[in-house]
């Protein structure tokens, strides 16, 4: 039997292939972030629960705060200074979850609220602290080196050498003035789609399929999200010399993490199967719009949060047809 705690544990377990790929291709940064954000999230959760006079261990053991921490750790730039991650994780729990009443009562995806908050507040740190693929470095920084970087104890010069922008970012900004072939000559694109990123996305895809198989999530949100994103790219960005091509949209950014782990957060997602299809499609469309015509190279957080806004509306208009009824009810009760 599934319990809520077990569901959270399975979701965390299903992120492990992705975390492994991130660590293999980009170094220790994400692993440290995952541990750090989880500690911060759980600590914040415990503190607020105590202040709210709720049973701390009972609620902490449901694993939801830990999951928020893990997702943030996976999503944030690997070499982000520790205090920015702390702000992200603490505000995710405090602002987006506990202030709304705790687990199950939040309107917005907590991890994405934390992410969006630091993305708006510290735009430079959030775009430049992405780790370069280890394969491109002369010497891969070890665990302690990485810790020092994150703890802001390392020399700025060493940091500059191993950080940079993401392939999505680079492609988006270079393609305006150059051809696709010259842009992708940059070694961060590797031989395939985007060095390392393709494996990370495949690993998240595998973890996500595992969750579908366990019936912890359904296929509706990932399918409609990926479908809408693909469709948007084929409609508006079919020319790789003009804009980011479809394989990079799918496999170069946080797309698969979003599809199976972020957008599928049940608390803040739409309810019915039909609603989930609209919700996922909405995220896909918004993600493309922001990536292609907005100023951010990746936009999972904004796309998800915007669709979180729309959830009550979607829920009222996508109710299933109940047994014995001729058609489904729509809208608010009259």
């Amino acid at each position: 039997m599934l319990t809520t705690g077990r569901i959270m544990q399975w979701v965390i377990a299903a992120t492990l292939p992705g975390l492994l790929a991130l660590t293999l291709f980009f170094g220790w940064g994400n692993l440290i972030n995952v541990v750090w954000c989880t500690l911060v999230a759980m600590g914040t959760e415990a503190l607020i629960l105590a202040l709210r006079k709720r049973p701390v261990t009972f609620f902490l053991s449901d694993g939801s705060a830990a999951l928020t921490g893990v997702l943030l750790g996976l999503a944030l730039p690997p070499l982000l200074p520790w205090w920015i991650s702390l702000i992200a994780a603490a505000s995710a729990i405090l602002l987006a979850k506990q202030l709304y009443g705790g687990l199950g009562s939040n309107l917005f995806n907590p991890a994405m609220v934390g992410y969006a908050l630091v993305l708006i507040s510290f735009p430079e740190a959030m775009t430049t602290n992405w780790a370069q693929p280890l394969a491109l470095l002369d010497e891969a920084p070890g665990l302690l080196d990485t810790l020092a970087i994150i703890a802001s104890l390392a020399e700025p010069a060493t940091i500059d050498g191993i950080t940079g922008a993401t392939p999505l970012d680079v492609y988006k900004h270079e393609i305006g003035s150059r051809l696709a072939s010259t842009v992708t000559a940059d070694p961060i694109f590797g031989d395939g789609i985007a060095r390392g990123w393709e494996w990370v996305n495949l690993a998240f895809l595998a973890g996500g399929l595992f969750l579908i198989r366990l019936k912890i999530i359904t296929w509706h949100i990932p399918a409609s999200f990926l479908g809408a994103l693909t469709l948007m790219t084929l409609l508006f960005g079919y020319d790789p010399d003009q804009s980011v091509p479809v394989q990079m949209h799918l496999f170069a950014g946080a797309t698969m993490l979003c599809a199976f782990f972020i957008a599928t957060d049940p608390v803040s997602a739409a309810t019915s199967n039909k609603g989930k299809l609209w919700y996922g499609a909405g995220i896909g469309i918004l993600l493309y719009i922001i990536r292609a015509w907005g100023s951010y190279p990746d936009a999972v957080a904004f796309a998800v949060l915007l669709m979180n806004f729309a959830v009550p509306f979607i829920d009222y208009y996508t109710r299933p047809r109940t047994y014995g009824h001729r058609k489904p009810e729509r809208g608010l009760p009259s």
């Binding site: 809520t4 829920d315 109940t322 009810e329």
Partner: protein, 558 residues
């Protein structure tokens, strides 16, 4: 698409049926007393037609009931009626209700039964009345009087008769053992119902976890045209609406009954008892009851007589009372906990589960709903259980209703799958109760408002009439003063009818005033003067009314 069709949702449950299927149906011994409740079904209490001290024979009618109101109940054995009293009956609240208490004489002697080999030749009305007289109410659990259900079908409209042998709840094997051991009687009963309804087809729905019963029924139906439809074991396939959907692909309209789509469902045990009633004249004095649960040494099915104290059956099955944690009547999904082990077996007692702590551990403390949607995937009615829960919890009953709360069949699939262990069905039951209560209050308020409005209207009307009369009097006085001709008075003044009514009114007032005065002379001398004055006044009015009438008469005859 062919049979069986499918229904959405549903869950797979550990069925726990084998433990009670190890032996054939057993006959329990006679207990030292029976308590036969007068109400065992939907409807009214049966009226007792025996008295304490009467001796009764097995099968003799103990209490009677009119057709349409309920069904009679009968003596489960021969013996003496020792009391008709309120006793605990099987009810979740430990309700007490009227029961006929019988002490057996041990001879177990039948009353005279109307054996009838040619039952099929009986007229329809006679068959129905015998079904009623035998006290047959749906044995599946709900207990709707069967004769009423067959009539509600209204004969010609029923195309498909469905016999429900799905028995989808875990633990229960009462129907299964009956199908295994008495398939011929079930089929004979099915044919009776079928011909009563004039049904075109008869289907028996059964889950695929009952191979022996399926085989027995298939043999018994051979050449009868009755089709045994095997459906996948999935709870709640035996819910009436789900079974209809599985067997016909149709849905019962949400505000209707199966007859609206030409379908009627009967439990297989009901069919068997119909056959026994018509063929042998046997009333329902027993039913197959599953005794199971780990607190019993010898689980199995028994032919339990109605009115047997439950404790008697459990003891015979080897109850370890120390291990007993929960005693459930019905299945673990839709049954309820019996507050008392002394309550009697009733017609709806299909299963008694004496569960241990090991079998029924305490449910964990509910966690918050994370809207995971597992409940929605499990709901066979395609509701949104997580939304209903939210609305029920926050008391937003209008929204709950709008989300079709009342279509919930309370099967409990959602509660079963809920990872946060939320007792969802309890929330829905509570919300339904609260809404019904609100509706009742609303109706009462509406009635009160209507009463008030009608009273206001009446008062206003009286006031207007008074005003009209006053006006008329003033007119008349004015005419008199100005010396108007009788003609103009007659043409502009009130007509004869009004004047007559006024005269009558005035006379009534005079009478009233006189009566009051008389009364006051004896009881309240201080008010006499006042009342005399009032009488005088009324008398004067009467005089003038009479005068006006006379004038009018004159002018109209001129």
């Amino acid at each position: 698409m062919g049979r069986p069709f499918d229904f959405p949702g549903g869950i797979e449950l550990p069925d726990n049926k084998t433990q009670s299927l190890q032996s054939p149906i057993r006959q329990p011994s006679l207990p030292d007393h029976f308590a036969v409740p007068l109400l065992q079904h939907i409807g009214e209490h049966a009226r007792a037609c025996v008295q304490p001290g009467d001796t009764v024979l097995k099968g003799q009618r103990l209490a009677d009931s009119d057709r349409g109101a309920g069904v009679p109940v009968h003596a489960p054995t021969s013996g003496t009626v020792t009391a008709i009293e309120a006793r605990q009956v099987p009810h979740p609240s430990g309700l007490e209700d009227w029961c006929v208490r019988i002490e057996p004489d041990g001879r177990d002697q039948w009353t005279e039964l109307a054996d009838c080999p040619d039952y099929a030749e009986l007229p329809v009305e006679e068959q129905l009345s015998r079904i009623h007289a035998a006290g047959i109410a749906g044995l599946g659990g709900a207990g709707f009087p069967t004769d009423a259900k067959l009539v509600a079908g209204d004969g010609a409209r029923i195309r498909t008769l469905i016999l429900n042998g799905a028995e989808c709840e875990p633990y229960i094997t009462a129907d299964q053992s009956l199908m295994r051991e008495r398939p011929e009687a079930i089929i004979a009963g099915a044919r009776i119902i079928s011909s009563l309804l004039g049904a075109e087809e008869c289907l028996i729905g059964i889950e695929d976890n009952k191979p022996e019963a399926i085989k027995a029924l298939q043999e018994a139906t051979n050449g009868t045209g009755i089709e045994v439809v095997v459906v996948r074991t999935r709870y709640p396939s035996g819910g009436e609406k789900q079974l209809i959907q599985l067997l016909t692909g149709q849905e019962v309209p949400h505000d209707g009954i199966p007859a609206d789509i030409g379908v009627l469902c009967q439990n297989i045990a009901t069919a068997e008892s119909i056959y026994r009633a018509l063929r042998f004249g046997e009333p329902v004095i027993s039913r197959i009851t599953t005794l199971t649960g780990k607190a019993l040494e010898r689980p199995g099915n028994v032919e339990a007589r109605i009115g047997t104290p439950i404790i008697h059956l459990l003891n015979e099955a080897g109850l370890h009372e120390d291990n007993l944690k929960r005693l459930i009547m019905g299945g673990p999904m839709m049954g309820f906990d019996l507050p008392s082990i002394t309550a009697p077996v009733v017609k709806g007692t299909n299963c008694l589960i004496a569960g241990t702590a090991d079998e029924f551990p305490d449910s964990p403390i509910p966690q918050p709903c994370i809207r995971c949607g597992l409940c929605e995937q499990a709901c066979p009615m395609e509701l949104l259980p997580q939304q209903l829960y939210w609305f029920a919890r926050s008391g937003e009953y209008d929204k709950a209703e709008d989300f079709n709360l009342f279509d919930c069949i309370e099967c409990g699939a959602c509660s079963w799958v809920c990872p946060s262990s939320i007792p969802l069905v309890q929330y829905y039951q509570h919300a339904k109760g609260a809404i019904r209560e609100q509706r009742r209050e609303q109706e009462e308020a509406d009635r009160a408002r209507l009463r008030f409005e009608q009273r206001q209207a009446r008062l206003e009307k009286e006031k207007a009439e008074k005003e009209e009369r006053r006006q008329a009097r003033m007119e008349a006085r004015k005419h008199k003063a100005s010396g108007a001709t009788p003609e103009s008075a007659a043409s502009s003044g009130p007509d004869l009818e009004t004047l007559t009514r006024r005269r009558d009114d005035a006379r009534e007032k005079v009478d009233e005033a006189r009566a009051k005065l008389e009364e006051a002379r004896e009881t309240a001398p201080e008010a006499v003067t006042k009342l005399e004055r009032a009488l005088n006044k009324h008398q004067k009015r009467l005089d003038s009314a009479e005068q006006a009438l006379a004038n009018a008469h004159e002018s109209s005859t001129e």
